[in-house]
């Protein structure tokens, strides 16, 4: 009984270490392949379009919705203490430091991370990745690198968009509905912020971009088992990358705010 438990625990730990090692190896190979030749500019541009341009609507809509609902909560909360003026300051702080990068990261893990896992998973089960190997092409260089580069550039850019849109979402509620002065809102929104806060947001977005691309590509590349495997890969990718975005957000916040 005890031996079986120890045996099972050991097997689980070994499997987890194996998985972590596999991810680390593929991530390392991706970093190493960035500067390899040939450089496929067309492939990279396609990824910029898929990751960036096509993600714009979903980032704008979610950022507006979240910033508006956050403004409603803040206005309601601060009204209890007759401190409505603080709502814009806290709104600014929350959007730039947390909501902008995290909402963008989570939405993109659902949109592009899952798409990467599904695409590479399909390529894996239909032997297209083997065909790449047989055509003397490193799948890590051809498939991972353009997605990784597009993701680490686009996620910070979309985070800036999210912050900008978040400002106007808060404006709609606090100025349009709560009747605060537009001038005061614009001034108060930035009052508690420093340039460092935007820098922290961009650092976070960069790390989230890495997580989204690497996890999405890794889950797709390791797909097994035909249609069922292809179906599981995006789900697994979204769950894993969302989890790592939230966990890394905590550690990045602790680290970068020191």
């Amino acid at each position: 009984m005890v031996l079986t438990f120890i045996d099972k625990t050991g097997a689980t730990v070994l499997a987890a270490l194996d998985t972590a090692g596999d991810f680390a190896t593929l991530a390392g190979r991706t970093f190493a392949a960035i500067f390899k030749r040939p450089f496929d500019g067309k492939n990279l541009m396609n990824q910029f379009q898929a990751v960036g341009v096509h993600s714009l609507p979903v980032v704008i809509l979610t950022s507006v919705a979240v910033s508006m609902v956050f403004a409603v909560q803040l206005a309601f909360g601060f009204r209890q203490f007759q401190a409505e003026g603080l709502a814009a300051q806290v709104e600014g702080l929350a959007i730039v430091r947390e909501l902008g990068p995290v909402i963008t990261g989570l939405m993109l893990s659902g949109r592009i991370g899952s798409a990467m896992a599904a695409e590479l998973g399909t390529m894996q089960v239909t032997e297209q990745i083997d065909a790449l190997e047989c055509l003397a092409t490193d799948p890590i260089h051809y498939l991972f690198v353009p997605r990784f580069l597009a993701s680490i550039v686009v996620v910070p850019l979309l985070t800036v968009v999210s912050i900008y849109v978040g400002f106007w979402g808060g404006y709609l509620i606090l100025v349009g509905v709560e009747g605060q002065s537009a001038f005061v809102y614009s001034h108060e929104f930035y009052k508690l912020l420093a340039f460092r806060d935007l820098r922290i947001a961009l650092y976070k977005a960069l790390v989230f971009g890495m997580i989204i691309a690497l996890v999405g590509c890794w889950k797709g590349y390791r797909t097994q088992g035909g249609a069922e495997g292809v179906g599981n890969a995006p789900t697994s990718s979204v769950v894993t990358s969302s989890l790592w975005i939230l966990i890394s957000d905590f550690f990045l916040t602790k680290l970068l705010l020191v």
Binding site: T126, E127, Q128, D130, A131, E133, C134, L135, A136
Partner: protein, 263 residues
């Protein structure tokens, strides 16, 4: 020295032994056909030759270079001299036929777009697919996909062509077309080929030698005329296409007599 040298190759997946001490030598310009039932390790053999799988023991050598010992860059150099034709073609479905065939040329050769266009046209003509370059793989039939796969495989002018069950799932007429295309490629390009197939008709047309894999072992590897008269009961059963005999591990279901037609 043989161009392709398979020495004591063994490969198992968990407890299932797929290849056990397989030895095969293929000389330059030779055409080897590998026969065998489903799950006897034919595709695993090709994947070991391409370096897509690593042998448990033994090795595969191409022009004396042991595949499993090569660094990745060296392996890619060797792979440029081998064209692999997959069972289901494995065309890149996000690309057109032209882009599929041009893929290797763009990656590995420093040539102009006009030269790429000319080479793609030449390859598509060789497989009887000229004029399809703007189509996507989803718009092609099974036989057309295989032929585009052949065109992609020959684009870099390889020394070796590997065909993994090129006729499986095709109708008899298309099977004959594919057999003829393989013969044309063999004669016009003078390449060394290994073809895995279940189709005995095209096997005897294509082959300089025929090998039969049975339960992970190579039972015979000889010219078609000798193979035909090989007295081994497994070979004779395979050639007859009969369910009765030592070929199957589990006994086949009893053969029912067809119902008599009532007059």
């Amino acid at each position: 020295m043989a161009l392709i040298d398979v020495v004591n190759l063994s490969k198992a997946f968990g407890p299932k032994v797929v290849l056990s001490n397989v030895n095969l030598q293929v000389q330059e310009g030779e055409s080897l056909v590998v026969l065998g039932g489903s799950g006897t390790g034919k595709t695993v053999l090709l994947r070991n030759i391409m370096g897509l799988l690593t042998p448990d023991s033994g090795h595969v050598a191409i022009e004396g270079k042991i595949i499993a010992q090569l660094k990745r860059d060296e392996l890619f150099k060797v792979r440029q001299s081998i064209g692999m034709c997959f069972q289901m073609a494995a065309l890149f479905d996000s690309m057109t036929v032209f882009e599929n065939v041009a893929f290797g040329l763009r990656r590995h050769l420093d040539i102009t777009e006009d030269e790429i266009q000319a080479r793609v046209d030449e390859c598509l003509s060789l497989v009887g697919m000229k004029g399809t370059d703007k189509l996507k793989p989803a718009e092609l039939s099974g036989g057309m996909k295989r032929r585009v796969g052949f065109a992609r495989a020959i684009a870099l002018k390889p020394k070796i062509l590997l065909f993994d069950e090129p006729t499986t799932g095709l109708d008899p007429v298309m099977t004959d077309v594919i057999g003829r295309v393989i013969l044309d490629l063999k004669h016009e390009l003078g390449v060394t080929t290994i073809t895995i197939t279940h189709d005995l008709k095209s096997a005897f047309e294509i082959a300089d030698r025929i090998a039969l894999l049975f339960r992970g072992e190579c039972l015979a590897c000889e010219p078609p005329a000798d193979f035909k008269v090989n007295p081994h009961p497994v070979i004779q059963q395979f050639l007859r296409g009969d369910a009765e005999g030592p070929f199957l591990q589990d006994p086949p279901p009893p053969k029912r007599k067809p119902k008599e037609v009532q007059s």
